[in-house]
């Protein structure tokens, strides 16, 4: 790949993106002067922005590589992405969040729940949890983008991390967090085109849909011994029920990310940007098609890359890249597609990374600046300058932690880091959030108890049950002399499986045992719903 040409392409791309963001920001601002309906975001822009924020290099590179490892069973996650992440999210969560967000004048997810429950504690607690854990997810996106740079430009991974971090920092510093929805729409469109071209090219080169799947099925004899031992039976077959792989695949990746999407702070704020439910209804169309083209392509191409690698190198994907699943997609794109596609794909990846990162940094900055620090200013002389400073400092600290994680998390880590974050958000916040939207009987005490229960059970599971993390922390070993208090395949059950039901039950039970604090206020929250 010609580095000079690529640099020119990237500079032009960044210039266009920045210009579009600035124009979008100016238009939004001037709409206020002309008394135009404020949240007048077109459904295409809203859906693309949601989709481009949702889908990142983590989904394409990390989960695409995981599909190369585990096979087409991962398409259950794509199915969840569409049915839950788009349909249920927009229709059952989006509409009510939009209306209630307006009633409460909420601008962040913590602020939404904090105001709904009239609890500064909720807003601060959520702000702190998001601020502390978001870097893990940002790191997953950063690693994905860096792996692509490493693969396509054939540069050292560490250098790729530095280069990409500089790019992100420049983007954030020079106003990249403004007018993000407009740039998201462009980035989403680029991602859509790139991924559709990729899917067609792969199916075409492998002889069509059925022949390529059949070729993948016939590779079952080449499953590595390690994967066979944990329950893998083939790339077009589900793992043995109850096996370690079964739990890794279905509880962490499919359930964790598939359900976790409903409680993502950076996505929830998108619902509030449209002016009526009509826009959300229309956005469902774009969202469904977009996600199918994104994770559908990534997982199918990831799995089918095995056929290509066996035909070319005589080895499956994992063996070809030396065991690091995060490098399968970059290696595949570099080898399989013509070099002109490499340039397009580089833009696809930049788009996927930038659109998600801008929203992540937005959520990170507001979580510490507005939700934690901002709430301490109540009643005092509000010094906005300090809030800005805390926000900026928060973003800088978040960026430093992210880079540290990108260097130290190791290999084959993107999908895991993402699912930890998604699962944790769902475990702590999904039950109170859903109840806030649908249940007037929800009480502040019920919501806080549910939130805390989800958080404590998750923490316990990470430290003592789920072996992938408990082994790293070493607390279980220190106290009980073993890596997990569970045994057999159960050590692979995701913390979400324990934490979410406990959080739901606690939210409901405590609410039923306590009185609604201010029924009149609750009615105000539900106005127009």
């Amino acid at each position: 790949m010609n580095l000079f040409l690529l640099t020119v392409v990237i500079i032009i791309y960044l210039a266009v993106v920045s210009y579009l963001g600035y124009q979008g920001y100016r238009n939004t601002k001037s709409s206020l002067d002309y008394n135009v309906a404020g949240r007048n975001i077109h459904p295409y822009i809203m859906a693309m922005s949601y989709g481009a924020t949702f889908i990142s290099t983590s989904a394409i590179v990390g989960f695409g590589g995981t599909a190369a490892q585990f096979g087409l069973s991962l398409l259950w996650l794509t199915a969840c992405n569409i049915w839950i992440g788009i349909f249920i999210a927009f229709v059952f969560f989006g509409k009510r969040t939009r209306r209630m967000g307006l009633n409460l004048d909420a601008h962040t997810f913590p602020e939404f729940l904090g105001k709904r429950l009239r609890s500064v504690f909720v807003q601060r607690f959520m702000g702190i949890i998001i601020f502390l854990t978001m870097p893990l997810y940002i790191a997953a996106v950063l690693i994905g983008a860096s792996r692509i740079m490493e693969g396509l430009l054939r540069i050292d991974y560490n250098l790729a991390v530095v280069l990409f971090t500089i790019l992100v920092a420049a983007y954030v510093i020079f106003g990249g967090l403004k007018g993000v929805m407009y740039t998201d729409a462009l980035q989403g469109s680029l991602m859509f085109i790139g991924m559709v071209v990729l899917l067609i090219a792969v199916y075409f080169s492998l002889g069509g849909i059925t022949p390529s799947h059949s070729a993948l099925t016939s590779l079952a004899s080449q499953i590595p011994e390690g994967l066979r031992k944990i329950g893998m039976t083939g790339w077009t077959q589900s793992p043995v029920p109850g096996s370690p792989l079964f739990w890794i695949l279905y509880s962490s990746l499919v359930l964790g990310v598939g359900v976790g999407v409903l409680a993502q702070p950076q996505l929830i704020v998108r619902y509030m940007t449209v002016k009526s439910n009509q826009e959300l209804n229309r956005a469902v169309i774009i969202g469904g098609a977009f996600i199918m083209a994104m994770t559908g392509t990534a997982f199918i191409v990831g799995a089918l890359s095995n056929v290509y690698f066996v035909n070319t190198y005589g080895k499956i994907a994992l063996a070809t890249v030396g065991g690091n699943v995060d490098t399968v997609i970059p290696k595949f794109i570099a080898d399989f597609m013509p070099s002109w596609f490499g340039y397009l794909f580089m833009l696809v990846i930049l788009s996927a990374a930038m659109s998600t990162l801008s929203s992540q940094f937005h959520a990170l900055g507001t979580s510490i600046g507005r939700d934690v620090y901002g709430t301490t200013l109540k009643g005092q002389d509000k010094s906005k300058a300090w809030e800005i400073l805390v926000t900026k400092l928060g973003i800088v600290i978040g960026l430093i932690i992210t880079v540290y994680l990108a260097y130290h998390l190791g290999e084959s880590v993107i999908a895991r880091a993402t699912s930890i974050f998604f699962g944790l958000m769902a475990s702590c916040f999904l039950a109170p959030y859903a109840a806030s939207l649908y249940w007037k009987r929800l009480t502040r005490k019920g919501a806080i108890s549910g939130m805390m229960a989800g958080f404590i059970v998750s923490l316990f599971a990470f430290l003592f049950l789920h072996i992938s993390e408990s082994k790293v922390f070493g607390v279980a070993k220190l106290i009980f002399g073993r890596d997990s208090l569970l045994s057999g395949s159960a050590v692979f059950i995701d913390p979400l499986v324990f934490a979410l039901p406990v959080s739901v039950a606690t939210t409901v039970l405590v609410s039923l045992l306590t009185e609604v604090e201010d029924p009149e206020y609750v009615e105000k929250c539900f106005k127009g719903i």
């Binding site: 920001y25 601002k29 709409s31 206020l32 008394n35 309906a37 404020g38 949240r39 096979g71 069973s73 398409l75 259950w76 794509t78 199915a79 569409i82 049915w83 349909f87 509409k95 307006l102 004048d105 601008h107 106003g175 967090l177 007018g179 059925t210 390529s212 799947h213 070729a215 099925t217 083939g234 077009t236 077959q237 589900s238 002016k275 009526s276 439910n277 009509q278 209804n281 229309r282 956005a283 169309i285 469904g288 098609a289 996600i291 199918m292 559908g296 940094f361 937005h362 900055g365 507001t366 600046g369 507005r370 906005k384 300058a385 809030e387 800005i388 926000t391 900026k392 973003i395 127009g528």
Partner: protein, 65 residues
């Protein structure tokens, strides 16, 4: 079917386009519905947007005017 022997995996494969079709059918059937916005809502929207712009400006380090 489609070269995928496991019905469980095949179901997932088919649920992907089925979900997209559901989204398209839902959006199309509701294309012109739920679009009414009251004057009060418009006013609330303006207040909301004003603050949203302030937040964006804070994030990029500008003191809101």
């Amino acid at each position: 079917m489609l070269g995928i022997p496991d019905p469980w995996v095949l179901t997932a494969y088919l649920l992907v386009p089925a979900g997209a079709l559901l989204c398209i059918a839902y959006g199309a059937s509701k294309w012109n519905k739920e679009g009414t916005v009251t004057e009060e809502e418009l006013q609330e929207e303006r207040t909301w947007l004003k603050e949203e712009i302030e937040i964006d400006e804070e994030l990029t380090g500008e003191e809101p005017k």
